[in-house]
Symmetry: C2
Subunit: 698 residues, 2 copies
Amino acid sequence: MARTNAQRPARRALRRPPAAADRALASLGARTVPTAADHPHWTPLNRIVIELVYPEIDGGRYPVKRIVGERFTVWADVFRDGHDVVAARVRHRAAEDGDWKVAPMAHHDNDRWTGEFRLDRMGRHFYTVDAWTDVFATWRRDAAKKLAAGQDTMLELLEGREILEATLSALRGSDAACVRDALARAAAGSAPDRQCAALLDDKLAGVMARVGPRADQSSYARELEVVADRRRAGFAAWYEMVPRSQGAVPGRSGTFDDCIRRLPGIRAMGFDVVYFTPIHPIGRVNRKGANNSLDGGPDDPGSFYAIGAKEGGHEAVHPALGTLDDFARLVAAAQKLDMEVALDFAIQCAPDHPWVREHPEWFRFRPDGSIRYAENPPKKYQDIVNVNFYGPHREALWNALRDIVLLWCARDVRIFRVDNPHTKPLPFWEWLIREVQARYPDAIFLSEAFTRPKMMKALAKLGFTQSYTYFTWRNFKQELTDYLTELTRTEAREYFRPSFFPSTPDILPQFLQRGGPPAFKIRLVLAATLSPVYGIYNGFELCENRGLPGTEEYADSEKYQLKVWDWDRPGHIKQLIGRINWIRGENPALQGHGNLGFWRADDDNVLFYGKATEDRGNLVFVAVNLDPFEPHETVLWFPIAEMGLGDADAFEVEELLTGAKHLWRGSPQRVRLEPESNPAAIWRVRIWKHVEYRAPTA
Amino acid sequence: MARTNAQRPARRALRRPPAAADRALASLGARTVPTAADHPHWTPLNRIVIELVYPEIDGGRYPVKRIVGERFTVWADVFRDGHDVVAARVRHRAAEDGDWKVAPMAHHDNDRWTGEFRLDRMGRHFYTVDAWTDVFATWRRDAAKKLAAGQDTMLELLEGREILEATLSALRGSDAACVRDALARAAAGSAPDRQCAALLDDKLAGVMARVGPRADQSSYARELEVVADRRRAGFAAWYEMVPRSQGAVPGRSGTFDDCIRRLPGIRAMGFDVVYFTPIHPIGRVNRKGANNSLDGGPDDPGSFYAIGAKEGGHEAVHPALGTLDDFARLVAAAQKLDMEVALDFAIQCAPDHPWVREHPEWFRFRPDGSIRYAENPPKKYQDIVNVNFYGPHREALWNALRDIVLLWCARDVRIFRVDNPHTKPLPFWEWLIREVQARYPDAIFLSEAFTRPKMMKALAKLGFTQSYTYFTWRNFKQELTDYLTELTRTEAREYFRPSFFPSTPDILPQFLQRGGPPAFKIRLVLAATLSPVYGIYNGFELCENRGLPGTEEYADSEKYQLKVWDWDRPGHIKQLIGRINWIRGENPALQGHGNLGFWRADDDNVLFYGKATEDRGNLVFVAVNLDPFEPHETVLWFPIAEMGLGDADAFEVEELLTGAKHLWRGSPQRVRLEPESNPAAIWRVRIWKHVEYRAPTA
């Protein structure tokens, strides 16, 4: 076919390719044209796509949470154009270390890769993903295919040798010997395809995967963060106490020494964290009276959340409780029992808090010169004033608040339950928690936020170790299943570590008020087996459930008055609590969070769920009658396949509250749960594998 | 209560708060402690949380796609600590403009906000979200609550006046008058609560929302990108043709002039894009023969995907097709018919492509000096060599490839179907598309990738305007429903714009091979009504379905030999195609992508779905018999509630293929679909609202 004249201009255009672009540009006039180079992410490198890294919260904005010592698994989509062989790894380092380490990734399925490493120290770690083209593995796969197809591999042999020889120059020791040996075998005068085959052996492939040439080195665009908390951050049973209620003399405040006397009994119930409501001096200005009345008199002790008086502020302890030395003895006594003291960090101040006088610049005043007390109109909290977090003296205030926490850390407290964090700025908490944990990586912060769902999650994301939850109001099958599924099966499980409290000083739910002792047992079993972190508030073990009518407030709440309890009063459930906590300790499955599964129970009053360790070595099922009034008998459907059971296998269950054992076969099993005597059953499962026969051992 | 000695040290610690921190630090020795300041994201500003912005692809790494002129809706979670009133807006700008504009956001539900703006020009736009505390609105809400509760509002009055007076100093015109007027009414000597009430009126609130003080100004951390493509990127019917097959003389290549003669007939079928397989000179080295045989002789025309010969490369046209002037006439002729020419961009070269001689540095050579041709071992593509994208002359090569595209843009081509993009580096495509669209924002790129799902999505994310899909192999109810749900209901719909082709030169699916003309009708209706962008490959209108046995290849494929068609041969379905394209043009519902819903049909052989415009002004339902062999009669369940029908309403349907009308009541409607005569029904719906009575107009 003859070339036509008309084609020549095009040909010239190719020889001077910029001309076309220039013309195109010129046609746009002087306009500035944004090009690829202006794009914040584009780069000619990163040929290999690395994306959808999991876990990753909000594009890497927030860290995920794990427990020190755990293996941390990272997932990513990794792929490139064409057919070359790709390899990938997780790259990670501890924040305070600086040395990057690597862990290999393996292809899982559908371009999804996974790798893992051990979080070998407490604190923050960074991780990201690298990938590259494995030059030798690509050559090897193609050469093997051609060999298998009987094609000529003369050129493959030469190319394989080239790769190996280039690699060899940088090698020493056994790696060098392996490559040298392969090259020698490939040069041994046999037919080219026999020589080529000599370069395909597995040992050489293993060496070259480690030391061979890597092309197209690519890295994920972000370094992500994981916080490795200590064990107790992820598995703990809390006992919340109001220290002034621990005494024995009516009308007189309990003391730290009274608290010390209480510790062995609390330990006997199986708790390992003793959390104290605020222990600081209480303001006298606008002090509240009994049942939150406005007419508190000089004899009223006041709300311990109205912090600060002439005796001191957040750094001080209430004189009626004792001295700082007494407090130090309490901390030591708890440690001796393998328990730990947690304190309340509540930022609000009483109007007579020393800071109001010393640092008026940290507060807000109204046009008449009066200090602005807390309000949520039309409600007023006259005994509390709030600091001004974004005033002109922000830095000094934030430092002072941080130093309060550091001070209590220096006094050997490492767990802080933070009061109403959702009414203080989120950047403040993110800053404070990082500041404290940089110095005390073992510091634990529990977010006491009962508020809108996104705020609760935001607090967890920014750094709170644990979070209060809606568990307190989730009583029935569907709502418990939905909520626990959200907590354990969605991304929330990577950062939101729930703490289940059936009641708090502020919340005595209707379920407990109306359901009596069976309700307390039900809620106890649910809290303790659905969540590895849970707690009770003192009085729960006595089934105390007198509320102010029509509210969730306790009648005669110890928030506003002195109280004396008989900790052995009839009807207490301390043995049950101790047994439940013992069961938690004995069964690693109950110490995990993401390992919860709900299973079918035919009656809507019965909740049936199970937890297992990763290797299924510990397998626990729980059935709870959610109705505090009536017994329910129903069929539970055990998940035979998920339990690893074959058709011919049986399973032994031990009911851990009673010790009763059964040998069961098949999925459906009938159970009857009585509110008073046995509202719940907790079974540990052992599999009886069918054995065809065993040959006698020689 | 007396202060004890033991408390004094603590008190001192507070007065010099750094002391505690210093001691804590000292205890760590000289170790460097990372603090909040080291965190890449933390800042004391951004008090307001702005997160989960939608749409956002991979943490903002990739742009989303829209059509110019559309309203673009942005969602975000926006909230802050405490109870203050928050306001938010979308901030956006066109990439080439630079001026930020703003659009208000409104609270939707559960801390979710939404706002929208119009994409008023083609090309890239950036968007992000701002939020702030509305100081006056906060004051106003609290003051109103106190007034309603009958509380004293003396101080509120003073504070409200303060805010207004501070604002007033910066105001002019009607805003100033409004504020001044309110202040005057509030000073009018009446009772304080009457005065306070004067500051609560709605007009003042509106002015202050615009001009009042804003605290806690916060912005989302990222600026996100949206590409506004032109209309044809989102709604088009393509006709793919092999230009050399458009002639009338057996054994002679068709020409551009033959193509020009074909255009009116293609327009009559309703197509608006005419896409040509490669039009460049074809290599002679290792030329393929008929049916992809290796023994191509001098009379074989060769595969048009083996691009380049002594007559020229990607810049040239094949002499047998005509000249560049002929091509220019073809482009102009198409434009005159309101059609547009699309070209194939296939980067591979024939071994005798001029670049191999002129730029050997852009290719790879083997140890024996031979050029490396394309392989996927053990398969070999001897008539094709690939460029070396990451060789030492990467920049010159990439620029040359870009300039090829710019050259064809300069020749008035703006649509490129890109051959096998998944075998070329992804950063190259991201760069090339941005480079071209910076100069030609109207350039459209269709990704011809039939490969693994994540690669197909990655190409769409990085910038391809449209993408080939798995539709070609999705024939039955569940698989169609699943696939379309993925494309229209997941995040993919924000960046992956599908193009549905029932067949291509490389793929003649078994469904068409075995199902005959009814199969062609079925696939046509599905492609054209499920996706606003679709196309057919020439011969489809003739129901051409002769395949190579056991493959998806056409027998005697025109990829390897010259062919002459009788475009009016008996059995063609051109009228049906024309009718379907007319229906698409008449019904805006069929021009949208995310507006697809599947509805119940009792027979698994019948697929039933609907599309609606946002205002439900256009409502189209489609039922397709997926079985090409037998008729099926079944009940369709119209989604009465989604259609906006009340119990007493009826609906009129017009079957758009036949013109038949029915008046229907209630959800279930019986239909019979015959493979030969009516394999599908397309109903336009009009609602007959029940009218109680209408009063006569005066």
